[in-house]
């Protein structure tokens, strides 16, 4: 190890001048402090905008959001216009999106996590789902317009809108259901197999119940996305002034975001429409707030049980 001795240079020359280091130190620390506050400010920027946005919506809807507004049908006259049709339309939409995405989403997730062999085909479906999640919602609208409205001949009906919206939010349900299924510990499955249960019995009686909270959370998030989504429905074709209340899956319909859209763009013609739009936004945000709170409660309640 003689060469190691040679490695150590005998020179005592010093490069770091402590006085210089000290002099620069206070500036560096000050800069760090300033930047700390700038970053905090930047973080708060988004929240400030959020507060302004909410304030605007609430301020604009005061005096407009009341029982009449919630129970009246649409009207060109701002004083008599209400959103009962849009509320019922939104409920109808959920009646389709809920069951369809639940069956498709959970089924796909079970297939991917429990049955499919991890290989090319598995990663193909997985990649496909990831890619679908990134497709702009308006492209789903065109798919719905071409397939459901035109080819299947559903027209601009609840079923066409509902199926389109289901495909749009499907990736959300699949991914969250997959995560939930994956987090079910292996020993629970083994316990079930150990008693002679079959694979499907194990999935049905052990895996799915344990994964339920995660699946539900994903479902709620998917539904709240569907409730707020506008673009695909614009493409499918929702009439601006639809007075009759839909009564079946094949009726045309309108939903809360569509009503916001039409009132917003028409607010240049009739000033009061901006207030109607704001009041509808408040209703929509309240619904979303409640749904998300439920999702958070479910998630927190069932988190980390194992």
């Amino acid at each position: 190890m003689k060469d190691m001795n040679m490695d150590i240079a005998p020179e005592k020359k010093s490069y770091i001048d402590l006085n210089v280091v000290q002099k620069k130190m206070s500036a560096r620390i000050l800069l760090n402090k300033i930047v700390n506050y700038l970053f905090l400010l930047s973080t708060l920027f988004g929240l400030i905008v959020l507060v302004i946005l909410l304030y605007r919506v609430v301020a604009d809807s005061i005096g407009w959001l009341n029982i009449d507004f919630l129970t009246n049908k649409l009207s060109t006259s701002p004083d008599r216009a209400g959103i009962v049709g849009a509320i019922i339309g939104t409920v109808w939409l959920m009646i389709i999106v809920g069951p369809v995405t639940m069956v498709l989403g959970i089924g796909t997730a079970i297939y991917l996590e429990e049955y499919a062999k991890k290989g090319r085909f598995h990663s193909f479906i997985q990649t496909n789902i990831t890619n679908l999640a990134g497709v702009p919602s308006i492209v789903f609208g065109l798919l719905g317009l071409t397939i459901f409205v035109r080819v299947f001949g559903f027209g601009s009906s609840i079923i066409a809108g509902g199926l389109t919206m289901s495909l749009l939010v499907l990736p959300i349900v699949v991914v969250s259901a997959q995560e939930a299924i994956r987090s079910v510990p292996q020993f629970l499955r083994e316990a079930s197999y150990g008693m002679g249960a079959t694979k499907w019995q194990t999935i049905k009686n052990v895996v799915l119940p344990s994964a339920l909270p995660g699946v539900l959370t994903g479902m709620i998030l998917a539904l709240s996305r569907a409730i707020g989504e506008t673009a695909p429905l614009v493409v499918i074709g929702i009439p601006a002034l639809l007075i009759p209340i839909p009564g079946s899956l094949f009726d045309s319909f309108t939903v809360l975001p569509m009503q916001i859209y039409y009132w917003t763009i028409d607010s240049v013609l009739v000033d009061e429409y901006a207030h109607l739009a704001a009041a509808t936004i408040l209703v929509l945000l309240t619904v979303l707030f409640v749904m998300n709170s439920v999702a958070i409660i479910i998630r927190n309640k069932f988190q980390k049980r194992y």
Binding site: D7, I8, A9, I16, V20, V21, R28
Partner: protein
């Protein structure tokens, strides 16, 4: 002579400074820990530590896992304060200045008291940039000077010959042992006074361990070194002084050869003879 030493050691057992140690009078005290207590939340992790550390010595800190040795070494450059809910009392004097003093900036302290970690932690940058990082943040911009510093530091860490032809390659291409010596070079580049080493060889194979140990022997010519180790042979091989920690307390501190030949405390003896730990 021996008997005399032992009585002297007994009398100073708790507050380690050694009256009998002739070396003590020749060497300066670089860092002096006085009545140091540290709590993680409610957990009293360090209890009334008093330890001197001498210039150009290698001081080994040994003890079983969870005895506070890592906590202690991280307190010496105040890295321990990154842990939430840490409380500290007492003082550590570095060159006669209390490092917990409000006017003492941690960044300044850390340029004087360098650290080498348990696992090699090079930055995901080139070998050159790893070593130049410290000088750069401290304001050295001149390319030529940086080059000189990098070469000097890599030579100092006995790795220059191995990497001089690939300074621009990513540090993660090096072996674990080389990475650790690179981390030592990175530490040398800021020309510290004291080097803290927290089990620097625990993640290395025996061959690399040997190299790092030899390097430590070289480095003590110029630096004062504190090394935490759970390997008692290592402590015996490379250190001048050894402190034995147990449950957050310093049980014994003395010349390494004395600790390993005639330990004073039953617990020290139990530990170094492998009866627990």
């Amino acid at each position: 002579m021996c008997a005399l030493t032992i009585t002297a050691r007994k009398s100073t057992k708790a507050n380690a400074p050694l009256a009998s140690d002739t070396e003590n009078t020749e060497k300066n005290i670089v860092m002096n820990t006085r009545a140091l207590n540290l709590w993680y939340g409610e957990n009293h992790a360090l209890k009334n530590i008093n330890l001197p550390m001498l210039e150009n010595d290698v001081t080994a800190i040994i003890g079983p896992s969870g005895c506070g040795k890592s906590t202690y070494i991280k307190t010496l450059n105040r890295m321990v304060e990154l842990v939430p809910n840490v409380r500290i009392s007492g003082e550590i004097l570095y060159r006669d200045r209390n490092i917990f003093d409000k006017t003492y900036l941690v960044e300044e302290l850390r340029t004087r008291v360098g650290m080498v970690f348990q696992k090699p932690n090079p930055f995901p940058k080139s070998i050159f940039d790893n070593v130049a990082y410290g000088p750069k943040i401290h304001g050295i911009r001149d390319k030529k000077i940086l080059k000189e510093i990098v070469e000097k530091s890599l030579r100092g860490a006995a790795i220059w010959e191995e990497v001089k032809d690939r300074l621009n390659e990513n540090a993660y291409g090096l072996s674990g042992g080389q990475q650790q010596r690179l981390c030592i070079a990175r530490c040398l580049a800021i020309e510290p006074d004291v080097i803290l080493m927290d089990e620097p060889t625990s993640a290395l194979d025996p061959k690399s361990t040997l190299k790092v140990e030899e390097l430590i022997q070289e480095l003590k010519e110029k630096y004062s070194i504190i090394i935490v180790t759970h390997n008692m042979q290592q402590a015996a091989r490379i250190s001048d002084k050894t402190a034995f920690f147990l449950n957050g307390e310093v049980i014994e501190y003395d010349n390494t050869d004395l600790i390993f030949s005639t330990p004073n405390d039953k617990r020290t003896e139990d530990y170094i003879t492998g009866r627990f730990g």
